[in-house]
Symmetry: C7
Subunit: 98 residues, 7 copies
């Protein structure tokens, strides 16, 4: 049976998507040295960090959101054969819709 992760604070658990590093017509040609965010799906969301005023800051993300996140962010969790990522919401840049 797979494990279930309940993130603390403002952590979120993300299942990384298949990353397309190669473009349709051939070889991938990076044209800059900038970091490229990665895509994934939100599987679990923490209750939010406690702000300076002592109250929980509400999370912007919810389970099921497709997101892009900083490529170097987070740590890997193993759930059976599945590789998950746990990272802070502040390392998630945007929600994505097709």
């Amino acid at each position: 049976m797979p494990k279930k992760y309940l993130p603390l604070a403002d952590n979120v658990v993300v299942k990384p998507g298949e990353q397309e590093e190669v473009s349709k017509g051939g070889i991938f040609l990076p044209d800059t040295a900038k970091e490229r965010p990665k895509e994934g799906k939100v599987l679990a969301v923490g209750p939010g960090r406690v702000g300076d005023d002592g109250k929980k800051v509400p999370m912007e993300l919810k389970v099921g959101d497709m997101v892009v996140y900083r490529s170097y962010a987070g740590m890997e969790l193993k759930d059976g054969d599945e590789e998950l990522l746990i990272l802070r919401e502040s390392e998630v840049l945007a929600k994505v819709t097709d």
Copy 2:
């Protein structure tokens, strides 16, 4: 169909403009070592970061603004063939009008 990005917090999505690195009469002659901001157009704007008082700080930018932003700022997003940039509003320096 192109993807749509909904930035979190104080992130904005910018479409970089054509950068004119060459002057009209010939070769580009940089006269200092200072960073040169780049121009672009705002495509999407986050809801604002949460301030120390627990309230959202309103964004100064809106969709359609032409802006200059720090040249090393942000990360690249790919939207079909289009190269976009996601960066924080604090890395945008000014709005530009012709």
Copy 3:
């Protein structure tokens, strides 16, 4: 008789679990350079750190929780023959259930 630790502030005492570094079918093949959190069981929980508003921030963890925590976090405590770890709650990423 074993010692008993009463953590200060937002410290927690964790008993590290058996770490499975080898997969079922054979050799462990790490596919990334990302940090891998470790699992353990919470044995003791501090009263919480004092926030900027002068009040204690309540702890999210309680004794008995199974958790994953940053692998480089914490310091080792020796309790007889037992090796324990003391770390801050902010270094704990998630609670785990099977």
Copy 4:
């Protein structure tokens, strides 16, 4: 037609003045290794940064002020043939009057 810059937050646009690096009687003789601020004229002023209390901090500078600013501060903006500088008000040290 020249571009017009509307700075965000606490940014200001400055037109750098002619810097006199050579003294009247001959060669410039620097007597210390300290940074030397530069002079310029304020062309545009942002609305002010948002303080910790969620309110805009009023700007001290206004358009037309002659100022000295940290010599390594800011980034260059090009406005036609003109070289401008964009920097934060906190990098401006003083107003100057003759």
Copy 5:
């Protein structure tokens, strides 16, 4: 006559205990590179640091507490022949009872 130290702010004076670096059955075999906290007894406690709200944050420790503290923390005080340590309460990790 021995000196008496009255710590300022959130400092505490600790008398380091005898550190058992060797295990019962023989040579000490460290199994990790993690820092190992040390044990000691609290001899004096400061009045507490002043928090962001201008009020003193009450100390958790009191004279006589047995504690574990970060091994690299603090500075040495000499009180006659006795070697004491002065460190911040935040460098003390837990109280210990046998």
Copy 6:
């Protein structure tokens, strides 16, 4: 005509005094590696920085004060033939009276 500097925020303009690096009886013998503050006279004082509560923090210094300041602090301003220094009030350590 000499320039007049009106410092912003918590900046102050100081006229450095004659530094006596040589003692009366002979060669200067530094006995430590510690930084030695320098003396000067306050010529102009800013209105004060804006604190976290959105209010100006009153300045402790006023024009005419003799002060000692961190020797590596500040930047040089040229006012005709005169070399002045601009630095933050927090880099001034004490007022001096003979």
Copy 7:
């Protein structure tokens, strides 16, 4: 006539005491690499720093206190033939009584 220093903010002026680096029975044998605080007497005390709430934080020290302070802290002031030290109250660790 000796100079008089009036410290700003939370600075204090200390007259360093005679440091006993040699123990009674012979050579000084340092047994650790930890920093050893030094002793001195408080000669002057600033009015206190301004806290985040815009109010002055009262000083814990007063003129005449014997103190131990971080050995690397502070800067040297010369008052005639006398070597004084100016440092922040937070670099003073404890008051000392014999």
